[in-house]
Symmetry: C2
Subunit: 306 residues, 2 copies
């Protein structure tokens, strides 16, 4: 364990003494210092338990501006003291990611694509570990392209699948391909769908979310700099995706699901989803292109047709 944790005297979060093993790395405890480079944080430079020990919800999304707006929205919804204009970017010393904390909620940007969110998740998960957090639920919020759905429909993800409709993520480790599961919990998806019935104005479905590594050719778009297929071939692929249960397409869900699954970022059954979900539904009213995915094997998405 890093020295700052053993030597820390500023940690008032005694309830978090029981360490949850979010990380899966035997090398970490022998490191003198852990520098979370892309977050501009570190175990020697920051008192991570004091800064983040009370975190219960982590909401991640691509755009820094959107995640700041989300933090301001949550601040107002929770009735926290202070001015929303004063909520500062904890990662302001770097332009890689932005991070805001409002009460027990962290709101973090991750950029676009699997590699970009992967770097952030590695350092976020280590940060939660060093801060001795427990029972954390993590959500991904963002835009996605719908498949066979009306614009603005919310999708609660059943499984995150790759471009071949497989519920898996391929991670290359030292030149070898390792397959990680992205299977999600059906019960929690149903639980979320039930909450959605309280908001009849927002059409909601459960379906698979396809994660691609390319926005143009990978998602069948006809308007990239490169396009070698016809309109008919595009729709044939989307038809097959739809048959495989795909209801929306984005660029981060498989690695998000796989890493959270491996790192036990699932939270506890008894955590009350309803309040947080209502917040998300409310924000969805104003933004037709929000979606989110939870490491508790739940995701939600509203999105436009392609």
């Amino acid at each position: 364990m890093a020295p700052i944790l053993m030597n820390s005297t500023g940690n008032e979060h005694s309830s978090y003494i029981q360490q949850v093993e979010y990380v899966k790395n035997p090398h970490l405890d022998s490191m003198e210092e852990d520098i979370l480079y892309h977050l501009n944080l570190g175990t020697k430079t920051h008192d991570l338990p004091q800064m983040f020990g009370d975190v219960k919800f982590v909401c991640v999304g691509g755009s820094p501006n959107r995640m700041r707006s989300f933090a301001q929205f949550i601040h107002e919804q929770l009735g926290l003291p202070g001015n929303i204009a004063d909520i500062r970017d904890i990662c302001e010393g770097t332009d890689r990611y932005s991070m805001y904390k409002v009460g027990p909620v962290l709101s973090i940007s991750h950029g676009m694509g699997v590699p970009s969110i992967s770097i952030m998740l590695h350092e976020l998960i280590k940060m939660l570990y060093h801060a001795r957090c427990r029972d954390v639920i993590i959500f991904r919020i963002g835009t996605s392209g719908g498949v066979g759905l009306a614009a603005g429909t919310v999708v609660i993800t059943d499984k995150a699948v790759d471009s071949f409709f497989r519920p898996q993520f391929e991670q290359v480790v030292l030149g070898k391909v390792i397959i990680r599961s992205t299977e999600l919990d059906e019960d929690v998806a149903q639980e979320l769908l039930q909450y959605s019935s309280e908001l009849p104005d927002i059409p909601t479905v459960i379906g698979n979310t396809m994660c691609t590594h390319d926005f143009y050719e990978g998602q069948g778009r006809l308007d990239g700099a490169l396009c070698s297929f016809s309109t008919e071939e595009k729709f044939e692929y989307l038809r097959k995706a739809n048959e495989a249960g795909v209801r929306n397409i984005e660029m981060e869900s498989t690695v998000f699901a796989a890493m959270c699954r491996v790192c036990n970022l699932k939270g506890l059954r008894e955590i009350r989803f309803q309040h947080l979900m209502m917040l998300f539904w409310n924000i969805s009213r104003d933004r037709s292109a929000l979606w989110f995915i939870s490491s508790r094997n739940v995701s939600d998405s509203s999105h436009k047709n392609m």
Copy 2:
């Protein structure tokens, strides 16, 4: 061709009438409008030939702040009129990418990882097409991890290779894997190496650049949230990479090389490299972690050991 191009009256760049076919998409010319969404530009909302018709060099790198600093540096080096503080972000309406123009040089950020730079390249290449640019040279500038080299060494990339040391990029198109070459031009690499001899303080080598989709497990780092290999296995992989000619590791080079190759973004033989190169060498003095790759099948990198 989009209406704005046919109707444009503000284009004074008559020398660019001959259209260079950077794009490879038969659908584009039948589109009424082309919205470059992630750059916050479009053919109906912006006069792209007037804004960008004189562009000759495009320099891309991950960090928005670094690309702003680079634009300011180029502005000073070229002795352009005006204050560097007034150089505005052309993409300021979006937080996905930043873009600065100083004389004939564009400086653009692309975030981290293949998917992120891929989105930017699609829209950049279409922008150059709509702006009727020709003879454009594009460079990637950024940090990378060195393999078996002293910190601060500059690498001129011979080939961009994947995690299996193959000079190729796998692009998934409508669920099918397409292999694109990332082979680079040996002659131009030698030309760049020759220029480097004028700057003896900066060690420079030609070597292969490995592109991974993950910063931690993919590059053999021991300090991620996940790590399932030993120190010995890490160094064994890096030894094999070194044997395969790999001298540095980063996260964007294969798709950059592949897309620029397919889209003819190679520039002309007779363009004088030397002045631009000297600028880059100078900036390398101040920043030990710069590297760059050119679509003229040249890349250059300085980087730290892992």
